[in-house]
Each structure stands twice: as structure tokens, then as C-alpha cells.
Subunit: 109 residues, 2 copies
């Protein structure tokens, strides 16, 4: 049994961010709207999982999917207001990583 000593809203936010790849995908989208393959190759995630994550993030109102009826049709993913508001979190992680993680070591991939 879990007795939530911890705030359920906080837990929910954590469980969102603790999903593998989610934070990285959001971070990537922070630099602007992007297409599926763009995100996939810059983040290094498999198509399968990216597709899952994007759907999930869409349902949670963090990411917006737009079909742009250009020449062949472009599908563009971007952050919603909710997603953009996570920037301070990602920046905090970035700052911490600059201060405390040494670059050279182990396996990042």
C-alpha cells in the first residue's frame, strides 16, 4: 500500500517526466515545432516509442500535433502552453548538469 506522503499532483508530474524519453522530447520541442523524423533522429528514440510518447503527450495537453496541408503534407509537433511552461524545469536540469555532471564518462549513447 502506498500512503501518499507526497502530493499527488507532484507525483503525476514526476511520473510524466520519469517516462523514458519524455523530458528529452519536450526539451527538443522547446527549440521549436518539429516533425516526427526530426525529433526521432535528434533525440535518438525509436519510432515506436516516439509515436507512443507523442500520443500520450498530446492527450495530456503538452504537445500539439498539426497537419499542415503543404506539398506532400507535413505533420508538425509543437508544445502547447502547458508544454512551454515546462521550460524552467528543463533549464533547471540543464543548469544542474552543467555544474555537476562531468562530460567525459560512461555511456550516454
Amino acid at each position: 500500500m502506498k500512503q501518499p506522503t507526497i502530493c499527488p499532483r507532484f507525483e503525476k508530474a514526476i511520473s510524466l517526466l520519469s517516462q523514458r524519453w519524455t523530458a528529452l522530447v519536450i526539451y527538443q520541442l522547446l527549440s521549436g515545432p518539429q516533425r516526427f523524423n526530426e525529433i526521432q533522429s535528434s533525440v535518438g528514440i525509436s519510432g515506436k516509442v516516439l509515436s507512443e510518447r507523442l500520443k500520450d503527450l498530446e492527450h495530456q495537453g503538452v504537445v500539439k500535433r498539426e497537419v499542415i496541408p503543404e506539398t506532400p503534407v507535413i505533420i508538425e509537433y509543437s508544445l502547447t502552453e502547458k508544454g512551454l511552461s515546462m521550460e524552467p524545469i528543463l533549464k533547471a536540469i540543464e543548469n544542474w548538469s552543467q555544474a555537476w555532471i562531468e562530460p567525459g564518462s560512461g555511456s550516454a549513447d
Copy 2:
């Protein structure tokens, strides 16, 4: 092929925080040194995974394990300086969750 558009230090920090339970354990320890069972019951993690996480966090210099030779012997886990310096991250998540997550809904995990 993956081309790391993303800073390896940042990725490393993310992969640390994206491990299930890790952020919650650190958050919990932010409120002070605690014992194994205390963390386990407040976070709602299994002993097996907690043990793994704690070892991992120790290796990464985030958590410190201390054996206190009191009456029966107490094993206390606490954050190192590196661990304490993650507070802004957790606070940012907390703030975001207060602003953007509604408490009542679905499945947290």
C-alpha cells in the same frame, strides 16, 4: 544513427532523472536523512528497486549511505552536496505541477 544534437551532460542528467522512482526518492530525501523502510513506504517503491536505486545514486554521488552504530544499528540515507543541488529541479517540477496538473484525475501509476 543518432546524432547527439543534445548536450551529453544534459542527456546524462535526464537519464538519471528519467529512471523510475529516482526523482521521487531524491525529493523524499530533500526533507532530511531517512532510513530504507521510511523511504520505501513514503515513496511507495518496492524494496528491490529502492535498493537498486539507492546503490546507483550512491555510485553517482547523489546519495550517501551511513551506518550509524546505535542500539541496533541504523542505516541512514541522505543527499550529498550534489544531491542537494538538485533541489531547484524538484522545486521547478513542484511549481509546474501546482500550476498545470489538476489533482482529481486518472491514473498516477
